[in-house]
């Protein structure tokens, strides 16, 4: 978007100080949260488990929560499909803007994308909780 284009279609604010100030408030808010987390950490540290022992496999080994849905998926569907699927999905996500090119600003398009994203996220969250509990 060029500047001339911007000026005649929308009201604008200068990057500095107006926009920078908003970002500054966001930074301050995040810092406060981070400080509170740190204060909690003074009294309740993250802690450590037993030292690693390659000879001793614990009963319930789980990956980090952001890989848990993949791990859970792999348990119940054929291994190769379960591993190829995410790779293909990742490639699809990466090239998505080259597939969905139509400029569409309608409320309907927003709603359909919202539903797609919501369904995917709910499936992933459900798999994660299942993996965490099961």
């Amino acid at each position: 978007m060029s500047e001339a284009e911007l000026n005649n279609q929308e009201e604008t604010i200068p990057f500095y100080p107006d926009h920078v100030k908003t970002e500054f408030y966001v930074v301050i808010g995040t810092t406060v949260v981070v400080m509170i987390v740190g204060l909690i950490g003074l009294f309740m540290p993250v802690g450590l488990g037993e030292p690693a022992d390659p000879m001793n496999t614990p009963a319930h080994a789980k990956p980090e929560w952001y890989f848990l849905f993949l791990y859970q998926l792999l348990k119940y569907i054929p291994k190769s499909a379960g591993a190829v699927g995410p790779v293909l999905a990742m490639i699809l996500i990466t090239i998505w803007p080259f597939i969905d090119r139509k400029p569409d600003k309608s409320r309907r398009a927003y709603r359909s994308r919202f539903i797609i994203a919501g369904v995917i996220i709910i499936i992933v969250i459900a798999l994660t909780i299942w993996g965490e509990v099961g």
């Binding site: 000026n7 970002e23 950490g41 614990p58 080994a61 890989f67 792999l74 398009a109 927003y110």
Partner: protein
Amino acid sequence: MKKYYRWRRGIITSILVSVVLLVVITSMAHANSATRAQRESDTPVAPYDWTSINALIAETDDPASSITPPPATDPCLHCHIQGENKGLWTPLTRWALFGSLGLVFVLGVYRSATVWKTRKPWKPFTQRSVEWVDERYEISEPMTKILKKPVPKYATRWFYCLGGITAFLFVVQGVTGIMLAFYYKPTPEAAFASIQFIESQVRFGSAIRMVHHWAANGMIVMCIAHMLRVFIMGAYKPPRELNWVSGVVLLLVTLGFGLTGYLLPWDQTAYWATTVATEIAGALPVVGDLALVFLRMGWNITAVTLGRFYALHILILPILTLVLMLGHFLMIRRQGVAKPL
């Protein structure tokens, strides 16, 4: 002009509040340290006999002993003997407080004298330094152009903050990560003990590790939230395709940070979580074994894996992230943020 003063008042208030907070926090840490137990126990710890070190030196045969003799006049002998030694923070706070007051006083005298001598209004130091730099490098004009660039008003809507929070959490991760790297040792023998040392001995070590741990999780959550926002708003559409691609790569790099960082504490949870996480890559049909060996640097997670993960975590991935983030931001700068409905 009035606005400027309001800003200044806010800044002064926040400085005062943070000084008070610093004093409170440090005294809290002090109160929880081992000296408290000593102070409150029924049998007070006998004050250390400061003069005994002289006897120790006298006993050594070698005159050029490695023990340096104590200063002839201890700057504060009674502090050690009577247990008045308050550690680092009390003198530091005193120096900062009275030193800055002294500087303010000296500056005031200088300012009054200059105004009286030159009969001209006082020019603030900030303005002087700006003029000094601008005289030499002439950056004020391009800087003004950069800073005054008009931004659409909708760019301050709340849902545009998610990417900014992710970027700021990356900065938090950088700062706390550097702090942890001062104490962490990336070998199977020492890693666990060094984390224990950070948690129990280093001042504020457990707080720093807590922040690093939770900001890492928060960064992944914020990444995904930002991605969903961009997807739902259709902000990836032309002309912003490459911004989306670089964002996906940034998400993958963030997950890489998570994978490599989770192994570093070298406890049972970390070891086996990394084992099963890398097994996911091992399930790929043709290249599975190759991917597994590539990720683990062998069939199992060993000292080599730990070293490689550490190097990836603190060198390769941060550099990659910085480069990608620079591109990401420059593209936003050039194209502007996508318009909401």
